[in-house]
Symmetry: C2
C-alpha cells in the first residue's frame, strides 16, 4: 500500500517525467542552437507477473502494476497460480476503479495459466513493450531469455532473489551480541522467511564474543513456532534445500525449531560452516527460500573482506558494528558496494521503505537490470522512455515542457533544477527551415 500511496503522490505532483529544457540560442554561430525539450513518455503495454510470496504487494494490484499504470501504460497481469482467487479479487477491484474513473478500455487485464505457456506467449506478444517479474532465478531467466530472443527485444525487470549477507563486526558482537542474535532471528523468520530481503548468510569472526551471539541465535530459533508457508511446493523445496546444505561436509546444524506436524509448515533452522567451505561450495551461495540462515565463521577482518569480494549480486548487504569500527571498515563497505543495491548499517534488510531514495535492486542474479528498482518512486521510470522535441511549437508541447510550466514540476532548465516558469519564454523558434549542412557532429 505504501507503494500505491507514493506513486499516487508522485503522479499527481508530476516531476517524475524528468523534464529537461535547453533553450535555443538563435544568435549562435556558425548555426543557431535549436530549442530542445525532453521528458519521459509511456513505453507501451507491459506484462506483469504476480509473485507467489506477495499476493498483495507484488502481485495483481502490487507495486509493479502500480508503476506501469503510473507511467501511463496499460498492464496485462499474469496471475501466480498459487493464489488465483486472491488475484481475481484484486483484479475486480482494479477493473471497478478503472470503470469509476473512465479509464480507457484495456487499461488492465488478468490472465491465468498453470504452466509457462501463457506467460511466454505474453512476453512474446508483439505489442508487449516490457516485462516485470518477481520470483525465482529460473523463472526470471526464462522470461529474460524469451524477451531477448524476440524479433524486437524488450526489457525484462526481474527481481529474482538474494541471500542478503549480514556482516557482524567483533566490536558489535562484544557490545550487544545477544541483542543482534535475537533481532537476526526475527529478520530471518519474518513471514516464515519468505521475504526477498530475508538474510540467508551471516559472516562473523569466531572470537570470544561470538559465543554469546550464537547462543542467543540458538535460543531464539528454538522458540520460533512453525509457520505455514505460501504453498506446499515452496515448503517441500525449503525442506529439501536445508537438508542438502546441512549434508555438505563442513556444514552443521546449530539451531532449529521444533518439527511441525503439518508438512506445509516451515521449521526454522540455522546452519554454520567455515569460510573455506563456503568459498568452495557453490551450493551454499544459493538462496534457500524460507526461515533459514547459514553462519559463516571467519577468523579475521581480512577474511570478512575476502568473503565480501566473493559474493554474487545481492539486493542488500548489512553491516553491524560500533561507530568506531564502522569508521575503520571502508574496505569491507567498498567491496560490498560492488555486489549489492542497498547497504544497511546496524539494522536489518527485511524492511523496505517506499521512498524516493530507496533502491530495491542489485547486480545479477539479484535482478536482470542493476540500473533499476522495483520499490520507490524511481520504479516508475522502468516503464517510460525519453522523447525529445526540437523547435516544437508551444501548442504541440506536453504541458510539462511548456515555457510557463503550468504543472509546476521540477525541470532541469539549461542545467539547473527549477520549479518556476522558464525565465525567458518565447526563446524557442518554430519557423523557417535552416541549412543542415554546417551543423556539428555527430
Amino acid at each position: 500500500m505504501g507503494q500505491l500511496r507514493l506513486f499516487a503522490g508522485v503522479v499527481r505532483e508530476g516531476s517524475w517525467v524528468e523534464a529537461r529544457i535547453d533553450r535555443g540560442q538563435p544568435e549562435r554561430t556558425p548555426v543557431p542552437r535549436p530549442d530542445l525539450r525532453r521528458m519521459l513518455i509511456p513505453i507501451g503495454p507491459v506484462a506483469v507477473f504476480g509473485a507467489s510470496n506477495f499476493p498483495l504487494a507484488f502481485s495483481v494490484a502490487g507495486g509493479d502494476t502500480a508503476a506501469v499504470l503510473a507511467a501511463g501504460n496499460p498492464v496485462v497481469v499474469k496471475a501466480h497460480p498459487a493464489h488465483p482467487g486472491t488475484s481475481e479479487l484484486a483484479a475486480g477491484a482494479i477493473l471497478a476503479a478503472a470503470r469509476a474513473t473512465a479509464a480507457p478500455p484495456g487499461v488492465f487485464s488478468l490472465l491465468h495459466g498453470p504452466g509457462p505457456a501463457v506467460g511466454l506467449a505474453l512476453v512474446r506478444h508483439p505489442r508487449t513493450r516490457a516485462v516485470a517479474f518477481t520470483g525465482s532465478l529460473a523463472g526470471g531467466r526464462a522470461l529474460f531469455d524469451a524477451a531477448a530472443a524476440r524479433p524486437e527485444p524488450i526489457p525484462v525487470f526481474a527481481e529474482m532473489g538474494s541471500v542478503n549477507p549480514v556482516f557482524l563486526l567483533p566490536g558489535a558482537l562484544a557490545e550487544r551480541g545477544p541483542v543482534i542474535g535475537r533481532a537476526l532471528v526475527d529478520s530471518v523468520t519474518l513471514g516464515v522467511g519468505q521475504f526477498c530481503t530475508n538474510p540467508g548468510l551471516v559472516f562473523a569472526i569466531r572470537d570470544a564474543a561470538y559465543g554469546g551471539f550464537a547462543s542467543a541465535v540458538a535460543a531464539a530459533v528454538a522458540g520460533v513456532p512453525p509457520g505455514t508457508m505460501l504453498t506446499p511446493d515452496i515448503c517441500d523445496r525449503y525442506r529439501g534445500g536445508v537438508a542438502a546444505a546441512a549434508g555438505i561436509p563442513g556444514v552443521s546444524v546449530v539451531a532449529q525449531a521444533v518439527e511441525a506436524a503439518d508438512r506445509s509448515c516451515g521449521r526454522a533452522r540455522v546452519l554454520a560452516t567455515d569460510l573455506a567451505t563456503w568459498l568452495n561450495q557453490p551450493a551454499l551461495r544459493r538462496e534457500v527460500f524460507g526461515p533459514t540462515a547459514l553462519l559463516v565463521e571467519c577468523d579475521s577482518m581480512t577474511a570478512l573482506v575476502e568473503a565480501a569480494r566473493a559474493l554474487d549480486g545481492q539486493l542488500t548487504a548489512t553491516v553491524h558494528g560500533t561507530p568506531d569500527e564502522l569508521g575503520r571498515c571502508g574496505d569491507l563497505v567498498e567491496a560490498l558496494a560492488q555486489h549489492v543495491g542497498r547497504l544497511v548499517f546496524n539494522d536489518f534488510p527485511t524492511g523496505v521503505e517506499v521512498t524516493h531514495a530507496m533502491h530495491h535492486g542489485g547486480p545479477y542474479p539479484a535482478t536482470t537490470d542493476p540500473r533499476t528498482t522495483s520499490v520507490g518512486s524511481a520504479a516508475i521510470a522502468r516503464f517510460a522512455r525519453p522523447v525529445c522535441y526540437q523547435n516544437a511549437p508551444p501548442a504541440l508541447l506536453p504541458a510539462a515542457l511548456r515555457d510557463e510550466n503550468p504543472l509546476g514540476v521540477w525541470r532541469l532548465v539549461d542545467g539547473e533544477w527549477t520549479r518556476g516558469p522558464d525565465p525567458a519564454p518565447g526563446a524557442h523558434c518554430a519557423s523557417g527551415p535552416r541549412s543542415a549542412a554546417s551543423k556539428s557532429a555527430p
Copy 2:
C-alpha cells in the same frame, strides 16, 4: 568534441550521480523510518565498439568512451577495422592523458580484430559489465544476443541506424517548397549520407505545390558532387541497396547526381513511390546507408498519419509545416512520438546538439534500449547503477550524500531538488539495531 566538453563539465559539477536523500524519522511509529541515501556508482568495465562512420566522434576517443570514463569505469575499445591507424593515434592520446593524470593502470585499452571473434570474446568476458556499440543492425544484434546469452547477462547499448522519416505538410510546401527541397538534399547528402540521423524517407501529399518541391530536389541532387564513402565495402552496399530499391515495381528514380569514375564514390539518388507500395514492401523500410532518400507520395493528411503509425522505431522524425497546420497536426505528432526518440520541427535531423535535453536514441531497431541516449549528459547514466545507503555513518558516505553537501551538487532531499546542505544535519541515526519483525511491506 562537444560531447567531451559537456562530459568534462558535467563530471566536474557532479550532479550526474542523481543523489537522493530521504531523512530518517526516528519518531515514526510503529517503527522508525531509516535514513536512506542513494546515488549512482560506476557499473564496472565497459566494452566500446568504434563506429565505421565516426572515426573520431563515435570511436576510440568518442562519445561512448567519454561517457564510460565520465561514470568512473575502465573502458576496453574494440577498434573498427575500417580505420585502425586513426584508432591507434586516438588511443595513444588517451594513454598519454591517463599517464599525465596518474589514472589507474588499465583505465583504457584498445583491441583490434578484423572479424567478430575479438568483439564477441570481449562481450562474453566475465568482467565486462556493459557494451556500447554504434553501427549496423546485424552487428548490434549479434552483440546483444551474445550479451543476453551470458551466464550473467549484461546490457548492450547499441545504436543501429534509422531511416529518420520527414513529413512535409502541404502548407509548408506551398509556402516554401523549393527551399525545403534544397535543404532536404543538403541533409540527405551531408557527409555522403553517412550520418545515423540522415533522412531516408520523405512523406508528402502530392498536390499542386508538390511539383515545385520535387523540381528543387531534382535540381539540387543533380548538382551534388560525388563523394568518397568511408570504405569501398560501404560504397558497394550503398550502390546495391539503391539498385535493389529502384528495382521494386512502383518505385522510380526521380533524381540523381552524375556517376562517379571512382568506384568508392557514392552518387546521390532520390527515389519515389506511393504509400501503398511503401506499406507493402518491407525492403523499403530498411536503411540504405548513403546519400539517398525515398519520397513516398501520399494523397491526404489521413494517409500521412497512416504512414506514421506504420513506422518502425527511429532515432528521429521531422515535420515541416506552417504554424497554423502544425497547430492542427496533433494526430500526426502523437503517432510519430510512439516510434521515435526525437521529434524535429521545421529543421533537419542531421545536427545532434550535445546538451542535457538531447535524446539520441529510440525504439528498436534504432537502438536496443529506448530508455537510453548516446548523446547528451544523460548518456553517462548508461554506465552507472544506483546504490542505497541505509543508516550509514557519515564517515562511510560518499561526499555527494553527506549532510553538508560538500560538492554543492543538486540533490533530491525528501522529494525536493536543492543544492544546499541538508537543513537538518544529524537526522540520520547509526546506532543500535532495531527489530525487523514489525516493518511494513514488502
